[in-house]
Symmetry: C2
Subunit: 319 residues, 2 copies
DNA sequence: CTGTTAGCGCCTTCAC
DNA sequence: GTGAAGGCGCTAACAG
């Protein structure tokens, strides 16, 4: 492996000049800069990241905190993050917490110990105060509406897009609407629930506690929903699902209960995953891949920033 | 951040002694070693990985080559790898190739350029010869039966476990058995196909070309299978699915075609994912999480090794 | 057994 | 504009 010395020799300049062109410093004569660039190519020089990191006191590592990886929602997010990371020559450290606060804290500690430069928290259980405490050690970015937290974050307006979907169902004549969420706590879920209650009040519709289906994440949860519904005296005519997977579970098992989608039961999914397109599920598009990229950019940015990402209702054939 | 000097001062020894106890070298007097350990704790010393890496010429980074991350099969594998990596203080670099040979080659190049220490190839399209060529630059491990390749690999005997599943169906009276695969090429698929043909020959059963369903990976592919089957004059009575997702798709849409599982159609999934347990799908257990851990261990090991991992047929209620 | 010391490859003042 | 030189934190001869 050629090093910066080899390049300087090949270009007939000093190592500092090479270093300058490498780091785009001004004040380098054009000819010399050209010579250096040529020498870099000739020698096949690749900077030794370890040396650069040691010198600069950075690791070029960003941590990702998420509960699990084996659900499309998170793995798509990681795809986006990972793509952006490779562009910027950063590497990733995955922290799969399973929503264990202890494990979440461990990731935060890595920041303190300078094992990673920044941390992207895709979903958390640990308190915001605890997270904020660690900001002094490195940049932390959240995938949620952090409101007035001093951390960087990117978020989608779950309240608004849930409301939008509810309105859409209302326009299509639905008055008995149910919805599913995953975690009972969690910022997103509470926003959805708030939107739901506000919506009912707005339309003067009655509240049915049993129309809220909790702990829904996967296909099988969708089936569970339908099983429960089947036993209801008064069934909802539409369901806003936690994710496209849950929606798919509802739809595929609907025929088992002699329900036709959308005729007897309308379904709206979330995330607009490939499965939604394949199954023609009406879904709220959440650009997770792009969000992942944004989160990464925020993670390595100097300044803190807040970004809202917009969603879109994809009308297909399940409403 | 305290460094090795601070520790040596605090312990009243030289830096090399500190380095020695850090690296578990022999020949350090017990008292001094104790003093060093105490000093390490007192000073809150954490080794600077960049410095260690620079010195040792290693990156402590391992690359992972896989086509996509958003399918449970691969993300579970990554979970295992990631878990083992964190134990050994290694970090990951994800290369999502989408089976693009160019991208696969790029990951290999990273090895050559010393950007990563080792590479784990979970699934590939690029030729084995090309991969082998890069072995000189770092350790490469495969998740497939590499037969007599000089690379390390871990594999499961797809031929045998496919045969086992076919036998199981046969024992349950099935004579018209179909199966699905994902890629047409790919080592695993061809092994499965070979097992299938051998099985038919063994039992003196006729070969139906249309009983092989290709490009199946997800739920929706399972539905597609059933749609196709519905149009057959002579339907298979059992399906060996590519994955539990495909199996789930078959099962959930079966009622649409007035088919009862397992009465009219038996289904066996692969991987034994959570969804298989949830839906009581008979499935071939493949311990992906453990396999991920093994792959990682092989990746950082000095010697090359070959490991076979056994599978298990989980009898549930879809046969 | 233990301390001294020379780099690993790079960046960055500091002089010129 | 440019080069020389010090040092980031650590390891591993080498010399005792």
């Amino acid at each position: 492996m050629a090093n910066i010395h080899d390049v300087s020799k090949a270009a007939g300049v000093s190592v500092s000049t090479v270093s300058r062109v490498l780091n785009n410093h001004p004040y380098v004569k054009k000819e010399k800069a050209e010579a250096v660039k040529k020498a870099i190519i000739e020698t096949g020089y690749i900077p030794n990241i370890n040396a650069v990191n040691l010198k600069k006191g950075k690791t070029h590592l960003v941590g990702i905190v998420l509960p699990f990886l084996d659900v499309p929602y998170f793995s798509q997010l990681v795809q986006g993050i990972s793509q952006a990371a490779s562009v910027h020559q950063y590497k990733l450290v995955l922290y799969q917490t399973g929503y264990d606060e202890h494990q979440e804290k461990e990731a935060l500690e890595m920041l303190k110990l300078k094992q990673i430069d920044s941390l992207i928290i895709c979903s958390r259980k640990i308190s915001l105060e605890t997270v904020e405490h660690y900001q002094q050690y490195g940049s932390i970015v959240l995938f949620e509406n952090g409101e007035d937290t001093p951390l960087s974050y990117t978020f989608i307006d779950h309240y608004a897009c849930f409301m939008r979907a509810l309105e859409y169902l209302y326009e299509h004549g639905h008055r008995k609407i149910g919805f599913s969420i995953n975690r009972l706590d969690g910022a997103n879920s509470s926003q959805r629930e708030r939107a739901y209650r506000d919506f009912l009040k707005l339309k003067g519709l009655p509240f049915h506690k049993e129309y809220i289906f909790k702990k829904c994440l996967n296909i099988e949860d969708g089936e569970r929903i339908l099983r429960e519904i089947a036993a209801f005296q008064e069934r909802p005519t539409a369901i806003l699902a936690t994710s496209d997977q849950v929606a798919a579970g509802i739809i595929t098992s609907s025929s088992k209960y002699a329900l036709k989608v959308p005729h007897n039961l309308a379904v709206i999914g979330f995330d607009d995953q490939p499965i939604a397109r394949a199954m023609q599920i009406t879904s709220v598009n959440i650009p997770l891949y792009s969000i992942g990229q944004i989160l990464f950019e925020q993670a390595i940015a100097e300044e803190i920033s807040h970004k809202e990402v917009s969603t879109e209702l994809m009308e297909r054939s399940t409403v």
